[in-house]
Symmetry: C2
Subunit: 260 residues, 2 copies
């Protein structure tokens, strides 16, 4: 009935899991391991030719793009409304979700890819790496993998993205300082979900940018988010990437451990 | 009642003018001269702090972002429906409008800015140019103006954007070859409007990419668009930038002409 192809509860996969859990929609979770490049396998590209998660299949109809999926879920399923009823409110919500997709998310993603892709492919031979690349349908994605697996992005672009993260955090703090408790005021909406899906790891990854001293309203909002049962349920979804990384770190620290 | 701040009928301003004219909505046209940097003047930034057009003011409520504006106009005003009634259709429409905003439009815009901004500021002294820059609210916009007014973007980024335009045209041709007459099939929607607002000048600017031989379905769609009275009405809106450029070219060719 409703299949959801997603990775760990982070970024765009988290965005859709949050909407599903907030609305308490029943769905079949289909976990895709990005660490094993499952999103580039032929069976998955038959579902989403872009080779990206998340994707939903509802009554046989395939929908990709997390922001589009979330509006669809809210329109089609029962449960608490995650969009304002009035059209001006919806417009204000969409300005946030669009801003996340076009500005906040890309900056964070490029910086994250620059750190993690090299680690993900470090055990591949050149031939294995090229074989993985050849399966990626989008040219921009292939370019990203090639650059980040090798020397990484040039410093000036990394600086530009870091500047975008900083100005994003300032924008969020300014907005939340004016009102709250949620981004649009009294109603919790897809705007909060979209922002949280990206902002959740920022206090950990960029503690100099998002912290109680400099961004108190944003941090208070973050804590309010973490108190929501729907948010807790989404974050409790299996996180195999984190588990595998922890297992690999443990193995590094204790090389004989696996056989003991 | 409805004020629309817009520039020439091109790109994002055209996108909103197309929706207005297709729905035959009455509005007060407030022309903003980008050539005179009016979008960075204080009175305009009091309306849109981003310093960008288009913006609408409806019953005192300000909405920016052309894609968000168009969904609002379609939801709130009478006239032909520019969004499918079913939610799956709307999702498919939003995947197109989102793709235009995140992929097709930025590539075309960066390439265009790289050509035109230097020409727009060529008669300014250094101090005048810096004064203009200081009024631009968004850092990314200031950076863009500074780079394009001087040496322009590096060749590898220009190549990247040109590649994005080429793959965009291929994607559109492939989609229209499968069906039509419109991007979502029988219904003319905001997807056609969003794509046209960017694709309209492409056969002229990139004749090697979009032409009758290589992209016949896209060219046929472009002609169908041009036959629509709403599209004709939007394109007939004053184009002062073009008029000023033509006048300036005429003056260059015939220096004494102005006083004769």
């Amino acid at each position: 009935m409703l299949e959801v192809y997603h990775a760990e509860p982070g970024a765009n996969s988290l965005k859709v899991l949050l909407a599903l859990k907030e609305k308490q929609i029943e769905f079949q979770s289909c976990y895709i391991s990005l660490n094993k490049f499952e999103q580039h396998e032929d069976w998955f590209k038959a579902i989403n030719p872009m080779g990206q998660v998340p994707v939903i299949v509802h009554d046989g109809k395939v929908i990709n793009e997390s922001t589009v999926i979330n509006e669809y879920l809210d329109a089609v399923f029962e449960g608490p409304k995650l969009r304002p009823d009035d059209e001006y409110g919806r417009a204000m919500m969409r300005i946030w979700t669009k801003w996340v997709d076009e500005y906040f998310c890309p900056a964070l993603s490029y910086l994250a890819w620059n750190q993690i892709i090299a680690a993900m492919v470090k055990d591949l031979t050149e031939a294995e790496f090229e074989a993985k690349l050849a399966r990626i349908p989008l040219k921009e994605q292939r370019d990203k993998w090639r650059i980040t697996a090798r020397e990484g992005y040039p410093q000036d672009r990394l600086d530009e993205w870091r500047g975008q993260v900083a100005s994003s955090i300032t924008r969020l703090e300014t907005a939340l300082a004016k009102g709250g408790p949620w981004l649009l005021g009294e109603q919790f909406t897809l705007a909060d979900i979209a922002v949280f899906s990206m902002a959740h790891p920022v206090p950990m990854g960029y503690p100099d940018l998002m912290n109680d001293r400099d961004t108190p309203h944003l941090m208070a909002w973050h804590r309010r988010m973490l108190e929501r049962p729907g948010v807790q349920a989404a974050l409790a979804m299996p996180n195999r990437y984190r588990d595998e990384m922890l297992a690999s770190k443990r193995a590094d620290l204790n090389p004989g451990g696996a056989s003991r």
